[in-house]
Protein backbone atom coordinates (compact mmCIF):
# COMPACT_ATOMS: atom_id res chain seq x y z
CA UNK A 1 0.00 0.00 0.00
CA UNK A 2 2.31 2.74 -1.19
CA UNK A 3 -0.27 5.44 -0.48
CA UNK A 4 0.35 4.93 3.25
CA UNK A 5 4.08 5.51 2.93
CA UNK A 6 5.24 9.08 3.36
CA UNK A 7 6.96 10.74 0.43
CA UNK A 8 10.45 11.50 1.70
CA UNK A 9 12.11 13.10 -1.29
CA UNK A 10 10.09 14.81 -3.99
CA UNK A 11 11.85 15.95 -7.15
CA UNK A 12 9.57 18.42 -8.86
CA UNK A 13 10.24 19.60 -12.42
CA UNK A 14 13.99 19.76 -11.89
CA UNK A 15 16.09 20.85 -14.86
CA UNK A 16 19.75 21.77 -14.99
CA UNK A 17 21.70 23.69 -17.59
CA UNK A 18 25.44 24.21 -17.43
CA UNK A 19 27.27 27.11 -18.98
CA UNK A 20 30.00 25.67 -21.18
CA UNK A 21 32.04 28.32 -22.95
CA UNK A 22 29.61 30.39 -24.98
CA UNK A 23 26.94 27.74 -25.13
CA UNK A 24 24.74 25.91 -22.71
CA UNK A 25 24.47 22.22 -22.06
CA UNK A 26 21.19 20.79 -20.92
CA UNK A 27 22.29 18.25 -18.34
CA UNK A 28 18.85 17.41 -17.01
CA UNK A 29 15.50 17.64 -18.75
CA UNK A 30 12.42 17.78 -16.56
CA UNK A 31 12.85 15.27 -13.76
CA UNK A 32 9.83 14.25 -11.70
CA UNK A 33 10.12 11.63 -9.00
CA UNK A 34 8.77 10.84 -5.57
CA UNK A 35 10.82 8.67 -3.30
CA UNK A 36 9.23 7.12 -0.26
CA UNK A 37 10.74 6.97 3.19
CA UNK A 38 12.91 3.92 3.76
CA UNK A 39 13.17 3.09 0.06
CA UNK A 40 16.32 1.87 -1.61
CA UNK A 41 16.35 3.57 -5.00
CA UNK A 42 19.04 3.11 -7.62
CA UNK A 43 19.60 5.77 -10.25
CA UNK A 44 21.13 3.94 -13.15
CA UNK A 45 22.30 5.14 -16.52
CA UNK A 46 25.31 5.48 -18.78
CA UNK A 47 27.93 8.05 -17.86
CA UNK A 48 26.89 11.57 -18.79
CA UNK A 49 23.18 10.96 -18.26
CA UNK A 50 23.11 13.42 -15.37
CA UNK A 51 22.52 10.94 -12.57
CA UNK A 52 25.31 12.38 -10.45
CA UNK A 53 24.09 15.90 -11.15
CA UNK A 54 20.63 14.94 -9.96
CA UNK A 55 22.11 13.46 -6.80
CA UNK A 56 24.16 16.59 -6.17
CA UNK A 57 21.03 18.71 -6.56
CA UNK A 58 19.25 16.57 -3.95
CA UNK A 59 22.31 16.98 -1.71
CA UNK A 60 22.13 20.74 -2.12
CA UNK A 61 25.61 21.09 -3.65
CA UNK A 62 24.09 22.41 -6.85
CA UNK A 63 20.97 24.41 -7.57
CA UNK A 64 18.50 23.28 -10.17
CA UNK A 65 17.96 25.70 -13.06
CA UNK A 66 14.23 25.28 -12.62
CA UNK A 67 12.10 23.17 -10.32
CA UNK A 68 12.82 22.15 -6.77
CA UNK A 69 13.59 19.26 -4.49
CA UNK A 70 11.47 18.78 -1.39
CA UNK A 71 12.68 16.77 1.57
CA UNK A 72 9.97 16.07 4.13
CA UNK A 73 7.96 18.75 2.36
CA UNK A 74 10.61 21.45 2.70
CA UNK A 75 12.54 22.76 -0.30
CA UNK A 76 16.28 22.06 -0.39
CA UNK A 77 18.44 25.17 -0.59
CA UNK A 78 21.81 24.07 0.81
CA UNK A 79 23.64 20.96 2.00
CA UNK A 80 22.19 19.69 5.24
CA UNK A 81 22.98 16.98 7.74
CA UNK A 82 19.68 15.18 7.01
CA UNK A 83 21.13 14.22 3.61
CA UNK A 84 24.43 12.40 3.88
CA UNK A 85 26.51 12.10 0.75
CA UNK A 86 28.90 9.20 0.26
CA UNK A 87 31.37 10.05 -2.50
CA UNK A 88 33.14 7.64 -4.78
CA UNK A 89 36.49 9.07 -3.71
CA UNK A 90 35.53 8.92 0.00
CA UNK A 91 36.29 12.58 0.84
CA UNK A 92 37.42 11.65 4.34
CA UNK A 93 39.31 14.29 6.29
CA UNK A 94 42.87 12.97 6.03
CA UNK A 95 44.07 14.70 9.20
CA UNK A 96 41.46 13.00 11.34
CA UNK A 97 41.47 9.43 12.61
CA UNK A 98 38.61 7.10 11.79
CA UNK A 99 36.94 7.97 15.09
CA UNK A 100 37.39 11.72 14.58
CA UNK A 101 36.01 11.52 11.04
CA UNK A 102 32.92 9.73 12.29
CA UNK A 103 32.56 12.17 15.18
CA UNK A 104 32.84 15.22 12.90
CA UNK A 105 29.11 15.79 12.47
CA UNK A 106 28.22 15.45 16.17
CA UNK A 107 31.15 17.76 16.97
CA UNK A 108 29.73 20.40 14.62
CA UNK A 109 26.49 20.20 16.56
CA UNK A 110 28.44 21.30 19.65
CA UNK A 111 27.56 18.18 21.60
CA UNK A 112 29.57 17.57 24.76
CA UNK A 113 32.81 15.75 24.11
CA UNK A 114 31.73 12.64 25.96
CA UNK A 115 28.59 12.33 23.88
CA UNK A 116 30.56 12.85 20.64
CA UNK A 117 32.89 10.02 21.67
CA UNK A 118 29.98 7.73 22.48
CA UNK A 119 28.30 8.37 19.13
CA UNK A 120 31.59 7.92 17.29
CA UNK A 121 32.28 4.61 19.04
CA UNK A 122 28.76 3.39 18.33
CA UNK A 123 29.15 3.99 14.61
CA UNK A 124 32.73 2.73 14.49
CA UNK A 125 31.23 -0.49 15.77
CA UNK A 126 28.31 -0.39 13.31
CA UNK A 127 30.76 -0.61 10.40
CA UNK A 128 33.11 -2.99 12.19
CA UNK A 129 36.18 -0.75 12.36
CA UNK A 130 37.00 -1.08 16.08
CA UNK A 131 40.52 -2.31 15.25
CA UNK A 132 41.22 0.69 13.02
CA UNK A 133 39.48 3.42 15.02
CA UNK A 134 42.68 5.37 15.65
CA UNK A 135 44.15 5.05 12.19
CA UNK A 136 44.31 7.83 9.64
CA UNK A 137 42.57 7.46 6.26
CA UNK A 138 45.92 7.05 4.47
CA UNK A 139 46.40 3.85 6.47
CA UNK A 140 43.10 2.31 5.39
CA UNK A 141 42.06 0.19 2.41
CA UNK A 142 39.44 1.50 0.00
CA UNK A 143 36.73 -0.65 1.54
CA UNK A 144 37.53 0.58 5.03
CA UNK A 145 37.51 4.19 3.86
CA UNK A 146 34.05 3.78 2.38
CA UNK A 147 32.81 2.22 5.62
CA UNK A 148 34.05 5.30 7.46
CA UNK A 149 32.28 7.54 4.95
CA UNK A 150 29.00 5.69 5.51
CA UNK A 151 29.38 5.74 9.29
CA UNK A 152 30.24 9.44 9.18
CA UNK A 153 26.91 10.44 7.64
CA UNK A 154 24.87 8.01 9.72
CA UNK A 155 26.47 9.29 12.93
CA UNK A 156 25.17 12.69 11.94
CA UNK A 157 21.54 11.51 11.89
CA UNK A 158 21.30 11.51 8.13
CA UNK A 159 18.07 9.76 7.20
CA UNK A 160 18.77 10.02 3.50
CA UNK A 161 21.89 8.35 2.22
CA UNK A 162 23.03 9.76 -1.12
CA UNK A 163 25.60 7.48 -2.66
CA UNK A 164 27.47 8.48 -5.81
CA UNK A 165 28.94 5.30 -7.27
CA UNK A 166 30.36 4.59 -3.84
CA UNK A 167 31.81 1.19 -4.65
CA UNK A 168 33.06 2.05 -8.13
CA UNK A 169 36.70 2.23 -7.11
CA UNK A 170 36.74 -1.01 -5.13
CA UNK A 171 37.80 -4.47 -6.20
CA UNK A 172 35.06 -7.00 -6.89
CA UNK A 173 35.32 -8.93 -3.61
CA UNK A 174 35.35 -5.82 -1.43
CA UNK A 175 32.47 -4.40 -3.43
CA UNK A 176 30.34 -7.48 -2.83
CA UNK A 177 31.09 -7.39 0.86
CA UNK A 178 30.24 -3.70 1.16
CA UNK A 179 27.02 -4.19 -0.79
CA UNK A 180 26.02 -6.84 1.75
CA UNK A 181 26.98 -4.61 4.67
CA UNK A 182 25.13 -1.65 3.19
CA UNK A 183 21.97 -3.74 2.90
CA UNK A 184 22.34 -4.84 6.53
CA UNK A 185 22.82 -1.25 7.68
CA UNK A 186 19.86 -0.15 5.59
CA UNK A 187 17.71 -2.93 7.05
CA UNK A 188 18.71 -1.92 10.55
CA UNK A 189 18.43 1.87 10.23
CA UNK A 190 15.64 2.11 7.62
CA UNK A 191 17.20 5.20 6.07
CA UNK A 192 16.18 6.21 2.57
CA UNK A 193 18.94 5.40 0.08
CA UNK A 194 19.44 7.01 -3.31
CA UNK A 195 22.25 5.10 -4.94
CA UNK A 196 23.85 6.13 -8.22
CA UNK A 197 25.48 3.40 -10.24
CA UNK A 198 26.09 2.33 -13.81
CA UNK A 199 26.28 -1.34 -12.93
CA UNK A 200 23.20 -3.38 -13.86
CA UNK A 201 24.27 -6.15 -11.50
CA UNK A 202 24.70 -3.78 -8.57
CA UNK A 203 21.40 -2.00 -9.16
CA UNK A 204 19.47 -5.27 -9.43
CA UNK A 205 21.08 -6.58 -6.27
CA UNK A 206 20.48 -3.53 -4.10
CA UNK A 207 17.41 -1.61 -5.13
CA UNK A 208 13.74 -2.08 -4.53
CA UNK A 209 13.15 0.58 -7.14
CA UNK A 210 15.18 1.37 -10.23
CA UNK A 211 15.09 4.73 -11.96
CA UNK A 212 16.66 4.30 -15.36
CA UNK A 213 18.10 7.49 -16.83
CA UNK A 214 19.17 8.32 -20.35
CA UNK A 215 21.33 11.13 -21.61
CA UNK A 216 20.96 14.20 -23.80
CA UNK A 217 19.27 15.75 -21.80
CA UNK A 218 19.16 13.53 -18.74
CA UNK A 219 15.72 12.17 -18.01
CA UNK A 220 14.09 9.24 -16.29
CA UNK A 221 12.99 6.75 -18.94
CA UNK A 222 11.87 3.86 -16.79
CA UNK A 223 10.73 3.30 -13.23
CA UNK A 224 11.00 -0.37 -12.31
CA UNK A 225 9.96 -1.90 -9.00
CA UNK A 226 12.05 -4.86 -7.87
CA UNK A 227 10.09 -7.18 -5.59
CA UNK A 228 12.66 -9.93 -5.22
CA UNK A 229 13.04 -11.23 -1.65
CA UNK A 230 16.24 -10.43 0.21
CA UNK A 231 18.94 -11.60 0.45
CA UNK A 232 18.87 -11.89 -3.30
CA UNK A 233 20.19 -14.92 -5.07
CA UNK A 234 22.16 -13.58 -8.02
CA UNK A 235 22.01 -16.97 -9.76
CA UNK A 236 18.24 -17.33 -9.58
CA UNK A 237 16.14 -17.03 -12.75
CA UNK A 238 14.09 -14.22 -11.18
CA UNK A 239 17.20 -12.15 -10.55
CA UNK A 240 18.33 -12.79 -14.09
CA UNK A 241 14.99 -11.61 -15.39
CA UNK A 242 15.37 -8.31 -13.55
CA UNK A 243 18.88 -7.94 -14.82
CA UNK A 244 17.82 -8.66 -18.40
CA UNK A 245 14.89 -6.26 -18.21
CA UNK A 246 17.14 -3.55 -16.81
CA UNK A 247 19.81 -4.09 -19.44
CA UNK A 248 17.17 -3.94 -22.14
CA UNK A 249 15.83 -0.63 -20.85
CA UNK A 250 19.30 0.82 -20.68
CA UNK A 251 20.34 -0.20 -24.17
CA UNK A 252 17.03 0.55 -25.85
CA UNK A 253 17.66 4.20 -25.15
CA UNK A 254 21.20 4.03 -26.38
CA UNK A 255 20.29 2.38 -29.67
CA UNK A 256 18.87 5.50 -31.39
CA UNK A 257 21.95 7.45 -30.41
CA UNK A 258 24.12 4.79 -31.93
CA UNK A 259 22.11 4.86 -35.12
CA UNK A 260 22.88 8.56 -35.48
CA UNK A 261 26.60 7.98 -35.47
CA UNK A 262 28.19 8.00 -38.92
CA UNK A 263 28.98 4.55 -40.23
CA UNK A 264 32.67 4.55 -41.02
Amino acid sequence: MPSLKRPHVVIRGVTKRFQVGDGEVEALGRIEATIEGGAFVCLIGASGCGKSTLLRIVAGFEEPTTGEVLVDGKPVSAPGSDRGMVFQDYALFPWMTVRQNIGFGPRQRQLPRKEVDEIADEFVKLVGLEQAANRYPSQLSGGMKQRVAIARVLANHANILLMDEPFGALDALTREQLQRELLQIWARTRVTVIFVTHSVEEAALLADRLLVMSAGPGRIVADIAVDLPRPRDVSSPEFNAVRRELARRLTSHMAPARALEPVS
Partner: protein, 288 residues
Protein backbone atom coordinates in the same frame (compact mmCIF):
# COMPACT_ATOMS: atom_id res chain seq x y z
CA UNK B 1 66.12 13.27 6.45
CA UNK B 2 67.03 10.09 4.67
CA UNK B 3 66.35 7.85 7.67
CA UNK B 4 62.78 9.06 7.78
CA UNK B 5 62.36 8.52 4.08
CA UNK B 6 63.42 4.91 4.41
CA UNK B 7 61.18 4.37 7.42
CA UNK B 8 58.12 5.56 5.52
CA UNK B 9 57.00 2.32 3.82
CA UNK B 10 56.95 0.59 7.20
CA UNK B 11 54.92 3.37 8.74
CA UNK B 12 52.18 3.11 6.13
CA UNK B 13 51.94 -0.66 6.41
CA UNK B 14 52.27 -0.54 10.19
CA UNK B 15 50.43 -3.73 10.99
CA UNK B 16 50.93 -4.67 14.62
CA UNK B 17 53.98 -6.81 14.05
CA UNK B 18 57.40 -6.36 15.65
CA UNK B 19 60.20 -5.74 13.18
CA UNK B 20 62.55 -8.67 13.00
CA UNK B 21 66.01 -8.34 14.54
CA UNK B 22 67.62 -8.44 11.12
CA UNK B 23 65.47 -5.63 9.85
CA UNK B 24 66.19 -3.53 12.91
CA UNK B 25 69.93 -4.14 12.46
CA UNK B 26 69.61 -3.09 8.84
CA UNK B 27 67.88 0.11 9.83
CA UNK B 28 70.53 0.96 12.44
CA UNK B 29 73.29 0.36 9.88
CA UNK B 30 71.46 2.63 7.45
CA UNK B 31 71.18 5.31 10.10
CA UNK B 32 74.85 5.12 11.02
CA UNK B 33 75.79 5.37 7.37
CA UNK B 34 73.52 8.36 6.90
CA UNK B 35 75.06 10.21 9.84
CA UNK B 36 78.61 9.27 8.82
CA UNK B 37 78.07 10.61 5.31
CA UNK B 38 76.29 13.74 6.52
CA UNK B 39 79.01 14.61 9.02
CA UNK B 40 81.88 13.34 6.90
CA UNK B 41 81.30 15.70 4.02
CA UNK B 42 81.70 18.97 6.02
CA UNK B 43 84.82 17.46 7.63
CA UNK B 44 86.29 16.93 4.17
CA UNK B 45 85.41 20.53 3.28
CA UNK B 46 87.21 21.77 6.42
CA UNK B 47 90.25 19.71 5.48
CA UNK B 48 90.26 21.21 1.97
CA UNK B 49 89.88 24.69 3.46
CA UNK B 50 92.83 24.06 5.81
CA UNK B 51 95.02 22.77 2.98
CA UNK B 52 94.05 25.62 0.66
CA UNK B 53 94.97 28.25 3.28
CA UNK B 54 98.26 26.48 4.07
CA UNK B 55 99.27 26.02 0.43
CA UNK B 56 98.43 29.55 -0.73
CA UNK B 57 99.81 31.09 2.46
CA UNK B 58 97.12 33.74 2.42
CA UNK B 59 96.74 36.12 5.37
CA UNK B 60 93.29 37.25 4.26
CA UNK B 61 91.43 34.02 4.95
CA UNK B 62 91.77 32.45 8.39
CA UNK B 63 92.62 28.78 8.80
CA UNK B 64 90.13 26.44 10.46
CA UNK B 65 92.34 26.41 13.54
CA UNK B 66 92.23 30.22 13.89
CA UNK B 67 88.46 30.12 13.52
CA UNK B 68 88.25 27.37 16.13
CA UNK B 69 90.25 29.49 18.56
CA UNK B 70 88.04 32.47 17.81
CA UNK B 71 84.96 30.32 18.30
CA UNK B 72 86.29 29.18 21.68
CA UNK B 73 87.02 32.75 22.75
CA UNK B 74 83.64 33.91 21.45
CA UNK B 75 81.95 31.18 23.49
CA UNK B 76 83.97 31.02 26.69
CA UNK B 77 86.54 33.86 26.57
CA UNK B 78 90.06 33.57 28.00
CA UNK B 79 92.03 33.87 24.75
CA UNK B 80 91.77 37.42 23.42
CA UNK B 81 89.62 38.89 26.19
CA UNK B 82 88.27 41.64 23.98
CA UNK B 83 84.79 43.03 23.33
CA UNK B 84 83.70 39.77 21.73
CA UNK B 85 84.98 37.28 24.31
CA UNK B 86 82.29 35.06 25.87
CA UNK B 87 79.50 37.08 24.29
CA UNK B 88 78.07 34.35 22.05
CA UNK B 89 74.84 33.83 23.99
CA UNK B 90 74.03 37.53 24.05
CA UNK B 91 74.45 37.77 20.29
CA UNK B 92 72.49 34.58 19.61
CA UNK B 93 69.72 35.74 21.90
CA UNK B 94 69.51 39.18 20.31
CA UNK B 95 69.50 37.74 16.82
CA UNK B 96 66.88 35.20 17.75
CA UNK B 97 64.53 37.84 19.11
CA UNK B 98 64.78 39.59 15.72
CA UNK B 99 64.60 36.44 13.61
CA UNK B 100 61.60 35.13 15.51
CA UNK B 101 60.02 38.54 15.99
CA UNK B 102 59.93 38.92 12.21
CA UNK B 103 59.15 35.28 11.53
CA UNK B 104 56.22 34.98 13.94
CA UNK B 105 54.84 38.34 12.84
CA UNK B 106 54.98 37.09 9.24
CA UNK B 107 53.24 33.84 10.23
CA UNK B 108 50.67 35.67 12.33
CA UNK B 109 49.67 37.87 9.40
CA UNK B 110 50.57 35.62 6.48
CA UNK B 111 48.66 32.48 7.49
CA UNK B 112 45.23 34.02 8.23
CA UNK B 113 45.55 36.37 5.25
CA UNK B 114 46.55 33.48 3.02
CA UNK B 115 43.63 31.35 4.23
CA UNK B 116 41.22 34.17 3.45
CA UNK B 117 42.75 35.10 0.09
CA UNK B 118 42.70 31.44 -0.90
CA UNK B 119 39.08 31.00 0.05
CA UNK B 120 37.44 34.37 -0.68
CA UNK B 121 37.43 35.32 -4.31
CA UNK B 122 36.86 39.05 -3.92
CA UNK B 123 39.84 39.30 -1.58
CA UNK B 124 41.93 37.46 -4.13
CA UNK B 125 40.88 39.86 -6.87
CA UNK B 126 41.63 42.78 -4.59
CA UNK B 127 45.06 41.75 -3.30
CA UNK B 128 46.63 39.33 -5.74
CA UNK B 129 48.02 41.91 -8.22
CA UNK B 130 49.49 44.05 -5.42
CA UNK B 131 51.13 41.08 -3.78
CA UNK B 132 52.71 39.96 -7.02
CA UNK B 133 53.91 43.49 -7.65
CA UNK B 134 55.58 43.85 -4.26
CA UNK B 135 56.97 40.33 -4.09
CA UNK B 136 59.86 40.67 -6.59
CA UNK B 137 61.30 43.69 -4.75
CA UNK B 138 64.42 42.47 -2.93
CA UNK B 139 64.35 42.88 0.81
CA UNK B 140 67.64 44.78 0.69
CA UNK B 141 65.90 47.43 -1.44
CA UNK B 142 63.63 48.11 1.51
CA UNK B 143 66.62 48.87 3.74
CA UNK B 144 66.66 52.66 3.32
CA UNK B 145 62.90 52.99 3.74
CA UNK B 146 62.82 50.66 6.73
CA UNK B 147 65.45 52.83 8.43
CA UNK B 148 63.27 55.86 7.79
CA UNK B 149 60.17 54.09 9.09
CA UNK B 150 61.71 52.43 12.12
CA UNK B 151 64.91 54.34 12.72
CA UNK B 152 68.24 52.77 13.56
CA UNK B 153 67.65 49.78 15.75
CA UNK B 154 66.11 46.39 16.15
CA UNK B 155 62.70 47.28 14.73
CA UNK B 156 64.12 47.88 11.28
CA UNK B 157 65.79 44.46 11.45
CA UNK B 158 62.54 42.82 12.51
CA UNK B 159 60.75 44.56 9.67
CA UNK B 160 63.23 43.28 7.10
CA UNK B 161 63.03 39.73 8.43
CA UNK B 162 59.25 40.04 8.39
CA UNK B 163 59.26 41.13 4.74
CA UNK B 164 61.47 38.24 3.71
CA UNK B 165 59.46 35.66 5.65
CA UNK B 166 56.03 37.02 4.76
CA UNK B 167 55.78 36.12 1.06
CA UNK B 168 56.75 32.44 1.27
CA UNK B 169 54.26 31.95 4.12
CA UNK B 170 51.49 33.87 2.35
CA UNK B 171 51.96 32.27 -1.05
CA UNK B 172 52.27 28.74 0.28
CA UNK B 173 49.18 29.20 2.42
CA UNK B 174 47.18 30.48 -0.56
CA UNK B 175 48.47 27.59 -2.65
CA UNK B 176 47.56 25.16 0.13
CA UNK B 177 43.99 26.43 0.35
CA UNK B 178 43.57 26.48 -3.41
CA UNK B 179 44.67 22.87 -3.72
CA UNK B 180 42.36 21.43 -1.09
CA UNK B 181 39.99 18.90 -2.64
CA UNK B 182 36.58 20.63 -3.08
CA UNK B 183 34.98 17.40 -1.95
CA UNK B 184 36.27 18.06 1.56
CA UNK B 185 34.40 21.35 1.69
CA UNK B 186 31.29 19.63 0.38
CA UNK B 187 31.66 16.82 2.89
CA UNK B 188 32.07 19.31 5.74
CA UNK B 189 29.12 21.38 4.56
CA UNK B 190 26.81 18.40 4.46
CA UNK B 191 27.94 17.44 7.96
CA UNK B 192 26.79 20.80 9.27
CA UNK B 193 30.01 22.81 9.14
CA UNK B 194 29.94 26.38 7.86
CA UNK B 195 31.31 29.90 8.30
CA UNK B 196 34.27 30.33 10.60
CA UNK B 197 34.08 26.69 11.70
CA UNK B 198 34.88 25.80 8.09
CA UNK B 199 38.15 27.77 8.36
CA UNK B 200 39.07 26.22 11.68
CA UNK B 201 37.98 22.66 10.98
CA UNK B 202 38.74 22.19 7.30
CA UNK B 203 40.55 25.01 5.49
CA UNK B 204 43.35 25.36 8.04
CA UNK B 205 44.15 21.69 8.73
CA UNK B 206 43.83 20.75 5.06
CA UNK B 207 46.32 23.48 4.12
CA UNK B 208 48.71 22.66 6.93
CA UNK B 209 51.19 20.67 4.79
CA UNK B 210 51.59 23.62 2.40
CA UNK B 211 51.67 26.08 5.31
CA UNK B 212 54.53 24.16 6.89
CA UNK B 213 56.42 24.17 3.59
CA UNK B 214 56.02 27.94 3.59
CA UNK B 215 57.08 28.26 7.22
CA UNK B 216 60.18 26.22 6.58
CA UNK B 217 61.23 28.28 3.57
CA UNK B 218 60.41 31.51 5.42
CA UNK B 219 62.36 30.39 8.45
CA UNK B 220 65.43 29.86 6.27
CA UNK B 221 64.98 33.33 4.76
CA UNK B 222 64.62 34.82 8.24
CA UNK B 223 68.05 33.58 9.25
CA UNK B 224 69.53 34.70 5.93
CA UNK B 225 68.10 38.17 6.39
CA UNK B 226 69.36 38.65 9.90
CA UNK B 227 72.74 39.86 8.61
CA UNK B 228 71.03 42.39 6.35
CA UNK B 229 68.67 43.34 9.15
CA UNK B 230 71.49 43.91 11.59
CA UNK B 231 73.33 46.09 9.10
CA UNK B 232 70.92 48.78 10.14
CA UNK B 233 73.19 49.77 12.99
CA UNK B 234 72.41 47.62 15.97
CA UNK B 235 75.25 46.99 18.43
CA UNK B 236 74.54 43.30 19.16
CA UNK B 237 73.48 40.26 17.21
CA UNK B 238 75.24 37.76 14.97
CA UNK B 239 74.77 39.97 11.91
CA UNK B 240 76.35 42.92 13.67
CA UNK B 241 79.25 40.70 14.80
CA UNK B 242 79.90 39.89 11.14
CA UNK B 243 79.68 43.56 10.18
CA UNK B 244 82.08 44.44 13.01
CA UNK B 245 84.42 41.69 11.87
CA UNK B 246 84.41 43.21 8.42
CA UNK B 247 85.22 46.75 9.59
CA UNK B 248 87.94 45.43 11.91
CA UNK B 249 89.31 43.14 9.17
CA UNK B 250 88.93 40.19 11.51
CA UNK B 251 87.95 37.45 9.13
CA UNK B 252 88.18 34.82 11.87
CA UNK B 253 85.35 36.68 13.61
CA UNK B 254 83.39 36.90 10.34
CA UNK B 255 83.66 33.16 9.72
CA UNK B 256 82.81 32.43 13.36
CA UNK B 257 79.64 34.50 13.01
CA UNK B 258 78.79 32.69 9.79
CA UNK B 259 79.20 29.30 11.42
CA UNK B 260 77.05 30.26 14.43
CA UNK B 261 74.27 31.48 12.13
CA UNK B 262 74.52 28.26 10.14
CA UNK B 263 74.30 26.09 13.25
CA UNK B 264 71.40 28.11 14.70
CA UNK B 265 69.52 27.91 11.41
CA UNK B 266 70.20 24.19 11.14
CA UNK B 267 69.10 23.32 14.67
CA UNK B 268 65.94 25.44 14.52
CA UNK B 269 65.10 24.00 11.10
CA UNK B 270 65.29 20.51 12.57
CA UNK B 271 62.90 21.62 15.30
CA UNK B 272 60.44 22.88 12.69
CA UNK B 273 60.71 19.60 10.79
CA UNK B 274 60.08 17.67 14.02
CA UNK B 275 57.01 19.78 14.80
CA UNK B 276 55.66 19.45 11.28
CA UNK B 277 56.23 15.68 11.21
CA UNK B 278 54.36 15.44 14.47
CA UNK B 279 51.44 17.61 13.36
CA UNK B 280 51.33 16.09 9.88
CA UNK B 281 51.76 12.46 10.84
CA UNK B 282 48.48 11.81 9.02
CA UNK B 283 49.98 12.91 5.73
CA UNK B 284 51.84 10.14 3.91
CA UNK B 285 53.56 12.67 1.64
CA UNK B 286 54.88 14.88 4.33
CA UNK B 287 57.66 13.08 6.15
CA UNK B 288 60.35 15.13 4.48
Amino acid sequence: MSEQATALPDATQSMPEAPSAARRRGRIAERVRSIALGVGFPLVLILLWDRAVAITGTRLVPSPREVAVMMYDFSFGGVYDDAFSATILTHIWKSMTRVYGGFFLAALIGIPLGLMIGRIRILRQLLDPTINLLRPIPVTAWLPLSMIFFGLGPNAAIFLVFLGAFYPILLNTIFGVRSVDVRLFEAAAMLGCSGSAMFREVVFPASLPAIFNGLRIAHGFAWILIVVGEMTGVPTGLGSVIMDGRTLSRTDLVVTGMIVIGVCGFVTDRIIVLISNRLLRWSPQHHA
